[in-house]
């Protein structure tokens, strides 16, 4: 029902004729409705997938086995699919990047493994981290403790969020070719198995709390949430935020910080999802999220499609050539990121050309968003904020 109104408005605007000066304003407003709807739907999918992850983790902890452990890992990988697409809403002044905002609580990386649990060195297992600590102040592992400790003393002390769960499920990636290989007995017979189980249960619960906040911020028909603020502001400001978000993710955060830096450093661990070797999917889903925003269309986890007036429609109204360029750059970037072989930590060493082609394609796309925004008189910057 909520998608019908913008659609009607669009059809009505179409009757007024393409040359009507009000048309562009209508298109802008409609495209922002579409954006808000897509953002909400994808956070909803992320939340639902995290509920399934939480249930799988509870099932594993209730009855630890290789099978139930594998099921939890499968649920984690599935949960990353919708969430990866929501990263297209970062760098856009939205609630995900609030000063005390949930981004650092959800998705901060790299993980400081040894701050959370044991790690391996030449001598074998080194029992470090919060889980293996006998510090009385860390005696009870609960939500308040972990939220307080996250990112304390700098970005490296990442102790909660998707990547903390990833580390607790896979363990350190010590393999040249595969992901980490944590035994499920870490939760049965290993030292501090109960504390490890507590830790896993708490970070999974917290993931739901923080994703739930984002769903609420973007829920339709509510006053006082971010969606209401977003749609009430000057449409050009809102569009500048939207374009800045996808431009920055494509040009700087994804292409450079997450891909080019890894190629340049040649460090197997310098990647987003290093424990599960899922970085290739992080890259693809990030790029897909960018395409979703530009195209005004999102395919939900259940296969249904949410769509409406797109940024492409708005830009095409003013400059068809520019819109056409962004359309082809979007397709090219999706093709290029899908060509990167799994796992990413081998691709940066063995398949550099393929990775660098994708970096190029993403940077072309990021730059063309600057041009596209300029076509509707909006000035944006696609450089990464510090």
């Amino acid at each position: 029902m909520r998608y019908v109104l913008p659609l009607l408005a669009f059809v009505f605007a179409g009757f007024l004729g393409a040359c009507d000066s009000n048309n562009i304003e209508t298109l802008k407003a409609d495209s922002l409705e579409t954006y808000a709807t897509i953002v909400h739907a994808s956070y909803e999918d992320s939340y639902d997938a995290a509920v399934e992850l939480d249930q799988a983790i509870d099932a594993f902890l209730a009855s630890p086995s290789a099978t139930s452990f594998e099921a939890a890992k499968t649920a984690w990988l599935a949960a990353r699919e919708p969430y990866g697409q929501t990263e297209a809403y970062r760098f856009a002044n939205g609630p995900i990047d609030d000063a005390d905002g949930p981004e650092g609580l959800l998705n901060a990386w790299p993980m400081d493994e040894s701050y959370v649990d044991y790690v391996m060195d030449e001598s074998g297992i080194v029992f470090t981290g919060i889980i293996n600590s006998d510090d009385p102040s860390l005696a009870t592992i609960d939500a308040a403790l972990l939220e307080g400790l996250n990112e304390q003393g700098g970005e490296e002390n990442v102790s909660i969020g998707y990547h903390a769960i990833e580390f607790l499920l896979w363990g350190q990636d010590l393999s040249e070719t595969g992901p980490g290989n944590r035994p499920f007995t870490d939760y049965t017979t290993q030292v501090n198995a109960n504390r490890r189980a507590d830790y896993l249960r708490v970070v999974s619960d917290l993931l739901l709390v923080h994703l739930g906040e984002l769903v609420d911020e973007w829920a339709p028909g509510q006053s006082g949430n971010y969606r209401a603020t977003f749609l009430a502001q000057d449409p050009d400001q809102a569009l500048a935020d939207v374009f800045t978000g996808i431009g920055t993710l494509a040009k700087s955060e994804l292409a450079v910080e997450r891909m080019f830096v890894a190629v340049n450093n040649q460090d197997q661990e310098d990647e987003h999802s290093c424990f599960a070797d899922n970085t290739d999917r992080d890259i693809v889903t990030n790029a897909q999220g960018i395409a979703n925003v530009w195209r005004g269309s999102y395919t939900r986890t259940d296969g249904s499609v949410v769509s409406g007036t797109s940024l492409a429609d708005v830009v095409a109204e003013e400059d068809g050539d520019v819109a056409g360029t962004v359309n082809s750059n979007t397709s090219a970037a999706l093709t290029a990121v899908n060509a990167i072989p799994d796992p990413f930590d081998r691709a940066i060493i063995n398949q550099q050309t393929v990775v660098l082609d994708a970096v190029d394609a993403l940077q072309d796309l990021g730059d063309s968003f600057v041009t596209a925004a300029a076509a509707i008189d909006i000035i944006i910057n696609n450089e990464l904020p510090d």
Partner: protein, 484 residues
């Protein structure tokens, strides 16, 4: 290297500065307004110089928000932009203790002040001193030196146990060297119009000294500087800087000014210094390598020995992250990053009050050392930095600033009371980016008025003229400085 940029015409709108005739007149009277430091239109109203808002020439960004110091030079090639991104990641992300699975980023310590560059240069901006005893901000370090002693190269001689810098953090297994604590003494004074003011003088002492008492050394606190335009200053031809030297004050204006001659590790000879509070570093690259070494305990090809003294046993045997810990490529990318951070544009540069303040800045003598304009030569770091007309408000030379600011820590040719004229570009954005407006080498000045009032020595005459200005003119000058 295609780079679709925002067309020039679509830059954020800037108010026009009057008609073509006025502009033509302004251009015809160039020598006059260069001399006066400001231009007037035919009705005697002050007008801005053409393009003076472009503080970094073409390396200027129109951003006055909290990321104003963090953006790259707009004309970088795509390849340079990517390496800027790599340098950015080395600058921002934490270094970790060895051994670690993140082999590209390990080797921290054994002694250090911070885990990342950005911890002190937050958002590529400026650090500050503790506000009160017990507060522990980042971006504030303590240098040590035996008074009157320099080594064979002219560098300060450090404390035998603590070296030339106190590191207040250490990796597991080592005790941090000491905890510096601060106490302020208020010194009151009055302007000529009778308004009183108060200046705070910092006194640094040490607690938790782990390797014996700290005695018999000069103690000099320093705050981390913002990084805007470093590569532009690096590219100013040496001859242009030397041309402004006047060591014996031949022109009799009371201002001498001379370049520091410092040791270049790469060239293995003395060259002129440009960076650091005493112009003790010759290039951005050596400045970056020195900060990695002194502040984070990371070795590089320029500083290959671990930062150890005699006192903490086992320092040299601590696990390290390879030799060197920062490979040359990483040093090069971090240098590119630090060199190509753009300069934020002026705000309100054509506001009448700002223009009045700018006139006063020249009239009372500030511009004698805070040189408004210079030109870069050829940059060895990035083409975008070459041939730019820049407005840094510095001469990069050393000046005697009097006893009030002296730290008795001689550094190469800089005496204990000599300091480099710091660039003033970006000054008005410290509050926005870093949430404070504390100035001078140790962050003692709470705002530009106090900073001016601390000026002594060669700058005493200018300071006295400021002290004698009426309130509204002091406000004009402050407003101008905040527009930088």
């Amino acid at each position: 290297m295609r780079r679709p940029l925002v067309p020039r015409a679509s830059r954020p709108h800037r108010p026009s500065r009057g008609g073509g005739a006025v502009r033509l007149l302004a251009l015809l009277t160039v020598p006059l307004w260069v001399w006066m430091g400001a231009a007037c239109d035919s009705d005697g109203r002050l007008i801005a110089e053409v393009g003076e808002e472009f503080s970094g020439g073409e390396v200027t960004v129109f951003n006055s928000g909290e990321n104003a110091f963090g953006l790259p030079a707009p004309q970088l090639s795509r390849e340079e932009e990517r390496f800027f991104g790599v340098g950015n990641s080395f600058f921002n992300q934490n270094w970790v203790q060895s051994p670690a699975s993140t082999t590209a980023r390990d080797g921290l310590g054994p002694f250090f002040n911070a885990r990342s560059c950005a911890a002190c240069h937050f958002k590529d901006g400026r650090g500050r001193a503790p506000e009160f005893d017990g507060e522990r901000p980042t971006g504030w370090i303590i240098r040590l030196g035996v008074p009157g002693q320099v080594d064979a190269f002219g560098s300060p001689v450090g404390d035998p146990s603590y070296g030339t810098q106190i590191q207040d953090a250490a990796i597991l297994g080592f005790d941090p060297e000491a905890t510096p604590v601060i106490r302020y003494e208020e010194i009151t004074g009055t302007f000529a119009d009778g308004t009183s003011y108060s200046l705070r003088k910092p006194l640094v002492q040490f607690e938790d000294t782990a390797y014996g008492p700290i005695t018999g050394v000069s103690v000099s606190a320093r705050v981390a500087n913002h990084l805007s335009g470093l590569g532009l200053l690096d590219a100013v031809p040496e001859a242009d800087l030397l041309a402004r030297e006047d060591p014996n004050d031949r022109d009799g204006d009371g201002i001498s000014g001379r370049a520091n001659r410092v040791w270049s590790v790469a060239q293995q000879q003395h060259v002129i210094g440009r960076f650091g509070w005493k112009a003790e570093q010759p290039t951005v690259r050596q400045q970056v390598a020195s900060a990695f070494h002194g502040d984070m305990g990371l070795t590089s090809s320029l500083f290959s020995e671990e930062n150890c003294t005699e006192a903490p046993a086992g320092c040299n045997e601590a696990p390290n992250g390879g030799s060197p810990e920062i490979v040359d490529d990483a040093l090069t990318h971090t240098t590119l990053y630090a060199s190509t951070l753009a300069v934020p544009a002026r705000r309100d540069w054509d506001d009448p009050q700002v223009l009045r303040g700018k006139n006063l800045f020249t009239a009372i003598g500030c511009a004698s050392c805070h040189i408004p304009e210079m030109r870069t030569g050829t940059s060895t770091v990035a083409d975008a930095l070459s041939g730019q007309t820049i407005r840094p408000y510095t001469d990069l030379l050393l000046h005697d600033m009097g006893d009030g600011l002296a730290d008795d820590l001689a550094t190469f040719d800089a005496s204990g009371s000599e300091w480099r004229t710091p660039p003033l570009w970006g000054l008005g954005l410290f509050e926005t980016v870093n949430g404070h407006m504390t100035l001078l080498h140790d962050g003692r000045a709470r705002g530009v008025v106090e900073a001016i009032l601390w000026h002594g020595g060669e700058a005493e005459a200018a300071r006295e003229q400021f002290r004698e200005l009426p309130r509204d003119e002091r406000d004009d000058l402050v407003r101008f400085l905040h527009s930088l």
